[in-house]
C-alpha cells in the first residue's frame, strides 16, 4: 500500500500542476478577451457583460457562505442593496470619487451583515434560511418606506457620476470604460475571495459545512467563524451593489427584494456550488438566457424554471461543475 501510494502520487501531483497551469492560462486568455470585449461586440452586450460581472460577484459572495460554509441565505440582497443605496446616496449628497464610494458602500454592507449575521449564525439549516429571509424582508420594508432617505418605491436616481479617484482620469459615463472598471474590480475581488476559500479560514469553513460539531470539538468557535464568513460575504455583495447602482443609474427597492436574494441562489446552483467559478458561470448563463428569451417572450421565468428543474434532477453539480468534472474524467 505504502509503496503503491508513492508511485500513484507522483504522476497525480504532476497532473495537478499541469492542470493548474492550464487553468491559469485559460483565465488569462478569458480576462484578456473580456478586456477587449467592447471592441468587437455591439454596445448592448457591453451592458450585458457588466451585468454578468456584477451579478457574478454577487453570486460568488453568496457561494462563500453557501457552497463553502453550508449556509443557505435567502436574504443576501440586503447587502447588495445596502451597497447600492450607499453608493447612490453618497454620490447624490457628497459627490465622492467612485473609489471612495465603493469603499464606503462595502463597509456599510459589512456592518449590516455583522448585525444581521449575529442573529442568523446562531441557527442552522432551514431556521438559518428563514431568519435571513425575515431580515431581508425587514430591510426591504425599511428601504421601501423610509421615504425621506430612500425616496420610497421610486428609488434614488439622478446622482452624478464624477471622478474615479486615485488620480486616474476615466470617463465613467462611457459604458465601455465603466465596464472595464467593473472588470478590474470584480477580478480583484474574485482573487481575494478565492484566496479566502483556500486559506486556513476557508478550510475550516468547509469543515464546518460538513460537520460543524466536530469542528467545535477541535477547539474552533464555530459561531464566530460563521459570522466572519457571513460578514465577508455581505461585504462583497455590497461591493457588487455599489458598482451596480451607477451602472443601473438608479438604486431602487427591487434590488433589496427577496426575489433579488433568490438570484444568487439560482445562479450558484446553475453554475455549480462546488467550484469557485461556478457562480460566475451561472450568472453568465442566467443573464444571457434572460436577455435572449425575453426578446421572444415575457415568460422567461417559465424557461428558467425548466432549465433549473433539469439541472437539479440530472446535473446536481451545475453546468460549470459538470463540464469540469467531465474534463477531469477524460484525462
Amino acid at each position: 500500500m505504502a509503496s503503491g501510494g508513492e508511485t500513484v502520487l507522483a504522476p497525480a501531483r504532476a497532473g495537478r500542476r499541469a492542470l493548474h497551469v492550464a487553468t491559469g492560462a485559460l483565465l488569462v486568455v478569458l480576462l484578456a478577451a473580456l478586456w477587449l470585449l467592447p471592441g468587437w461586440v455591439p454596445y448592448f452586450y457591453v451592458f450585458v457583460a457588466t451585468r454578468i460581472l456584477l451579478m457574478g460577484l454577487f453570486a460568488a459572495s453568496f457561494n462563500l457562505i453557501f457552497g463553502y460554509g453550508g449556509m443557505l441565505s435567502f436574504g443576501h440582497a440586503a447587502f447588495f442593496g445596502a451597497g447600492a443605496y450607499t453608493s447612490a446616496l453618497v454620490l447624490l449628497h457628497f459627490g465622492w470619487p467612485l473609489v471612495a464610494v465603493i469603499v464606503a458602500a462595502t463597509i456599510v454592507a459589512a456592518l449590516l451583515a455583522w448585525v444581521i449575521g449575529a442573529f442568523c449564525v446562531r441557527l442552522d439549516e432551514v431556521y438559518f434560511a428563514m431568519l435571513t429571509l425575515a431580515f431581508g424582508m425587514m430591510v426591504y420594508a425599511v428601504v421601501h418606506q423610509w421615504r425621506s432617505l430612500t425616496n420610497g418605491s421610486d428609488g434614488i436616481a439622478g446622482f452624478p457620476l464624477g471622478r474615479f479617484g486615485l488620480g486616474l482620469d476615466l470617463q465613467l459615463a462611457d459604458p465601455a470604460v465603466y465596464y472595464r472598471v467593473v472588470l478590474v474590480v470584480v477580478a480583484l475581488a474574485a482573487v481575494v475571495l478565492h484566496r479566502i476559500t483556500r486559506s486556513p479560514f476557508g478550510l475550516l469553513l468547509t469543515a464546518i459545512r460538513q460537520n460543524a460539531e466536530r469542528v467545535s470539538f477541535c477547539g474552533v468557535n464555530v459561531r464566530r467563524h460563521r459570522l466572519i464568513a457571513f460578514v465577508i460575504a455581505g461585504a462583497f455583495a455590497g461591493l457588487a451593489g455599489a458598482l451596480f447602482a451607477p451602472f443601473n443609474r438608479v438604486a431602487n427597492p427591487d434590488m433589496v427584494h427577496w426575489t433579488q436574494s433568490a438570484q444568487p441562489v439560482l445562479m450558484t446552483i446553475l453554475g455549480g456550488t462546488g467550484y469557485f467559478l461556478g457562480p460566475f458561470f451561472g450568472a453568465a448563463i442566467f443573464v444571457l438566457l434572460e436577455t435572449w428569451i425575453t426578446t421572444y417572450t415575457e415568460r422567461w421565468m417559465l424557461f428558467l424554471g425548466v432549465v433549473l428543474a433539469v439541472l437539479v434532477i440530472f446535473f446536481r453539480r451545475g453546468i460549470f461543475g459538470t463540464i469540469v468534472d467531465g474534463l477531469a474524467r477524460r484525462r
Binding site: G4, N211, F217, C218
Partner: protein, 269 residues
C-alpha cells in the same frame, strides 16, 4: 434505587495524596424530564491514568462524556479540569483547555482528504483559524505534522484519500488522529473499537497502550469489549443507571457481585 457503593478502593486513587487529579467530577447530574441519565457521579482521574468506563446500555456513559466535553450542560454538579472549573463551558473552550473526545458514531469530514481532516484540528490548535489570506495547501510544515499523526495511526498512505471513501475501521482511526491533533491532555474515547474487526481492535488497543505509555495522555475510555477494557485500563469504573456502581482494578471488577448483577439482570429488583 441503591446508593452508590464502592466495592474496591481505586488503584489510581493511591496517588491522590501526592498529585492533584487531572479531572475531578463532583455530584454531576443530568436530567431529561424525569429521567436521570447521569445521577450524581463523583470521579477523580489522575494524570497519565487510563480509566475504563463500563456499564450496560443506558448506564449514562455517553451522557457523562457529553457533560465533560461541553456538548450538554449538567443539571447539577461540577467538573474541574487541571484545577480549573470547566462546568458548562462550550465545546470549543473545553477542547482548547485540553479535553478532546471521539464519538460513538464516526465523526469526521467526509469530503476532505484524510490529511485535511487532521489539518482542521491542527489549524485550530495553532491558532490559525482566522487566517484569511495564507494558502492552507502551501503549508508544508502543517502537512508534515498531519502526516506524522497519520503515520502513527497507520494511515499515512491514505493521506490524500477522501475521508468518506475510507473503510469503516480507517474512519474510526482517522477520528482518533483528529482527537490527538487537538493536543489533548485528557482523551475521551467513546467505544473506539465498536464495529471493528478483531485485527483492527488489536491495533487500537496497541495504539492506546503506546500512547498511554508515552505519559502525554490521560485516557477515559468507554468500551463494550471486556477484553479491550481489561487489557488497557489501570482502573475500571462501572456505571449503572447514571451512578458509579463500583470501581477498581480489573481483577476486583471481575469478581464483583454487584457488577455481575448489573450486567446479568437485576435479581435485587
Amino acid at each position: 434505587m441503591t446508593p452508590p457503593r464502592r466495592t474496591a478502593v481505586a488503584e489510581g486513587s493511591r496517588a491522590a495524596g501526592d498529585v492533584a487529579p487531572l479531572l475531578s467530577v463532583r455530584g454531576l447530574s443530568k436530567r431529561f424530564g424525569g429521567v436521570r441519565a447521569v445521577d450524581g457521579i463523583d470521579l477523580d482521574v489522575q494524570p497519565h491514568e487510563t480509566v475504563a468506563l463500563i456499564g450496560p446500555n443506558g448506564a449514562g456513559k455517553t451522557t457523562f462524556y457529553n457533560l465533560l466535553s461541553g456538548r450538554m450542560q449538567p443539571t447539577t454538579g461540577t467538573v474541574v479540569f487541571d484545577g480549573r472549573d470547566v462546568t458548562g463551558l462550550a465545546p470549543h473552550e473545553i477542547s482548547r483547555l485540553g479535553i478532546s473526545r471521539s464519538f460513538q458514531i464516526t465523526n469526521i469530514f467526509p469530503e476532505l482528504t484524510a490529511r485535511e481532516n487532521v489539518e482542521v484540528a491542527l489549524t485550530a490548535v495553532h491558532g490559525r483559524a482566522l487566517r484569511l489570506f495564507s494558502r492552507a495547501a502551501a503549508d508544508s510544515a502543517l502537512h508534515e505534522e498531519a502526516d506524522a499523526l497519520l503515520a502513527r495511526l497507520g494511515l499515512v498512505a491514505l493521506a490524500t484519500t477522501r475521508a468518506g471513501t475510507l473503510s469503516y475501521g480507517d474512519k474510526r482511526l482517522l477520528e482518533i488522529a483528529i482527537v490527538l491533533a487537538t493536543r489533548p491532555r485528557l482523551v475521551l474515547l467513546d467505544e473506539p473499537t465498536a464495529g471493528m474487526t478483531p485485527e483492527e481492535t488489536r491495533g487500537v488497543v496497541e495504539l492506546v497502550r503506546q500512547l498511554a505509555a508515552s505519559t502525554q495522555y490521560t485516557f477515559l475510555i468507554t468500551e463494550h469489549d471486556m477484553e479491550v477494557v481489561f487489557g488497557l485500563a489501570d482502573r475500571i469504573v462501572v456505571l449503572h443507571r447514571g451512578r458509579v456502581l463500583a470501581q477498581g482494578s480489573a481483577d476486583e471488577i471481575r469478581v464483583s457481585r454487584e457488577v455481575r448483577e448489573a450486567y446479568l439482570g437485576e435479581p435485587d429488583d
